[in-house]
């Protein structure tokens, strides 16, 4: 397999994007779980 040119930039771009999206998704899921404990079931309209 041929060596990839600009490998550092590509790794930083793809890795950075994955880390940002992953961290944000984890925060959203955690916050949703925390808030679900404070809100009555009637207001959680999705299932």
């Amino acid at each position: 397999m041929m060596a990839m040119t600009h490998a550092g930039y590509i790794a930083a771009g793809w890795g950075g994007a994955a880390a940002l999206v992953g961290a944000y998704a984890a925060w959203v899921l955690r916050r949703g779980r925390t808030l679900s404990r404070q809100v009555p079931p009637e207001e959680r309209r999705w299932s």
Partner: protein
Amino acid sequence: MTSPTSTTVTGTPYGDGRAPDTPRAAGRVAPGNTGSRASRVLGILALGSIVLLVLYGLVWSPPDAEMADSVRLMYIHVPAASFLYAGCFITTVASAMWLRRRTPGWDALAGASAEISLLFAAITLGTGSLWGRPTWGTYWTWDARLTSTALLTALLVGYLALRRLDVDPTARSTRAAVLGLLLVPNVIIVNRSVEWWRSLHQRSTLVKLDPTIEGQMLVALMVGFLAVGLVFTWLLVHRFRVAWLEYQSERLDLDLALAERRAEAGHAGEARESTPA
């Protein structure tokens, strides 16, 4: 209104999160998180498309004749920029609908979409800078496209800061909605900047029926649009539900505070009546 103590499970008013599902009056089950069957299917599709994007973007597609392997950054950069535009469009439409209807769902959608747009703006600027260094020889230049994208990002930061002001919720949402209306005009400026001003940034390569990229690179870019689109939608669904829960939680806190004030006022009145003149 449902009493907060009526469904106490384990110390917290509506379940402890580890027992995720609590029964709802209509016989259906209310989830203890922001997930649903549809969002789980969407999440699985998003993960599958990300795997496909990694394979196409990093393994199967060839390097470009001019940009060499740095073209692989475009498979994230271009879709992220496109969904940044889509997010701004959703925020502007939802802001307009909030100003017209004043229903909390539109306000929640506007806020959720703006936050995800900011995430995609960061990815767009980051991957663009990393692509610019080997291609243009610099991470940043005050080019029309780059500068207008930075201004759009600043506008999104301002919008989200406005949403966090500690003022009356209706006034706060109205002020944010007015700012939200400015997002789409800014997106038009960003999009047309390469046509209106002399720009280092390349012009659109996909809007024509005969795109200037082709073969495996075009397939990789299309897979990028699919993956980023599914991730955007999944995030929007969950963030919207979180925003809805935040609204309900704030409303419950307000109801509770009002009930306490009424009870205090009632006690004070009784005390006055029982005191001899």
